[in-house]
């Protein structure tokens, strides 16, 4: 893959997945739009990405922090009503069930769950996105999975 040299490269390569990720986390199109914009503006301001080849995890980290900041500011759980717009149905589990289950997760676990189970990132990239160790990322996903399973019983 060629090197990212301009803002346009970053945008062309990652904007869709970052928008989808934001939408999956916040569940509202307008709010996801805000997160997408804040994420890329922050990325443009601190361009270039800190490590070559890791811009994807870098963008996910910025987006995750934006979502967590917003959730903290508002001190409320997010809605997942718009999940249907972008998330495919997986393993026979309806999106409505999944979104309801994800709702119960705290922001950090929700991000870990979506990064790994919905966006399909490797644990190393989940760890980079969440600024934690790979072990901690695995633990968060495992804890989230446990809670999601319980919620879906």
């Amino acid at each position: 893959m060629t090197e990212i040299t301009t803002f346009a490269d970053l945008l062309e390569r990652h904007e869709r997945e970052i928008f989808a990720y934001a939408l999956r986390l916040v569940g509202d199109r307008d709010e996801a739009d805000d997160v997408y914009q804040e994420t890329f503006l922050a990325a443009f301001r601190s361009f270039p990405p800190p490590r070559r080849g890791q811009e994807r995890a870098w963008l996910y980290r910025i987006a995750t922090n934006k979502v967590i900041d917003r959730a903290r500011r508002r001190k409320r759980l997010v809605r997942m009503d718009d999940l249907r717009l972008v998330a495919p149905e997986r393993d026979g589990t309806s999106l409505a069930d999944l979104s309801a289950a994800i709702k119960v997760l705290p922001a950090g676990q929700r991000a870990a769950f979506v990064l790994r189970k919905v966006q399909g990132l490797e644990y190393a990239d989940v760890a980079r996105a969440l600024e934690c160790s790979e072990d901690a990322a695995r633990a968060r996903v495992a804890e989230a999975m446990k809670k999601v399973r319980e919620a879906m019983k």
Binding site: T5, T6, A8, L11, E15, Y36, Q37, F40, F44
Partner: protein, 201 residues
């Protein structure tokens, strides 16, 4: 790209422009000669490239001059796209948009400025352009500088021919050069040539 994403991107680019993060805006326009990749910076038009993608060398020059803040921004390139449309329709003979030659060497700038003096419908030669740029013996170098003209059509390197009257070269291909010269002699169909998009959908 779906509507949701298109709207989001437009808002993002507008904010980046307002915050001064976007230094160069670009768009791809359809033309009778195929798609043209157009970039506009703070001082004017930086590039008109034959094709839907920028030339890597040209892109490198833009990034070295204006940094990485290059974004797809149709609005920023609207004026030059409009003037090009008018030109291809036979309704414009000169361009009003400013051009920015600052990423080029001093010699290239001199050659391109000399080329810009050749008016609509006229032609000149590499040797004459070299002489006008202050170096009579540099006609080969003038040809090379014109081959690397980042702003063809607006800086009319298609009006420069070999001394024997043959077409010489052209970055957009000799057929494009021939058609531009025909256009300037009034040899275009009523209403102009049809546009040739990058790909048919």
């Amino acid at each position: 790209m779906n509507d949701l994403m298109t709207d989001a991107r437009e808002r993002l680019v507008a904010r980046a422009r307002r915050e001064g993060l976007e230094t160069v805006g670009y768009r791809v326009m359809d033309s009778p000669l195929g798609p043209l990749w157009i970039a506009v910076g703070p001082k004017g038009v930086l590039a008109i490239h034959y094709g839907a993608e920028p030339d890597p060398g040209e892109l490198g020059r833009i990034v070295r001059t204006y940094g990485p803040g290059l974004l797809p921004d149709a609005r920023r390139a609207d004026a030059v796209a409009r003037e090009l449309d008018q030109y291809f329709a036979g309704k414009r003979r000169t361009f009003d948009v400013p051009v920015d030659l600052s990423p080029l060497t001093a010699f290239q700038r001199r050659i391109l400025r000399a080329t810009a003096q050749v008016g609509f419908g006229d032609v000149s030669t590499y040797a004459k352009v070299a002489r006008r740029a202050g170096n009579e013996k540099a006609s080969r170098a003038a040809g090379q500088a014109l081959g690397g003209n980042p702003i063809p059509i607006v800086v009319p390197c298609h009006r420069i021919l070999a001394s024997d009257g043959s077409l010489g070269g052209y970055a957009g291909g000799l057929d494009a050069k021939r058609r531009l010269l025909q256009l300037e002699r009034g040899l275009i169909p009523p209403g102009g040539w049809p546009k040739k998009p990058a790909r048919q959908s």
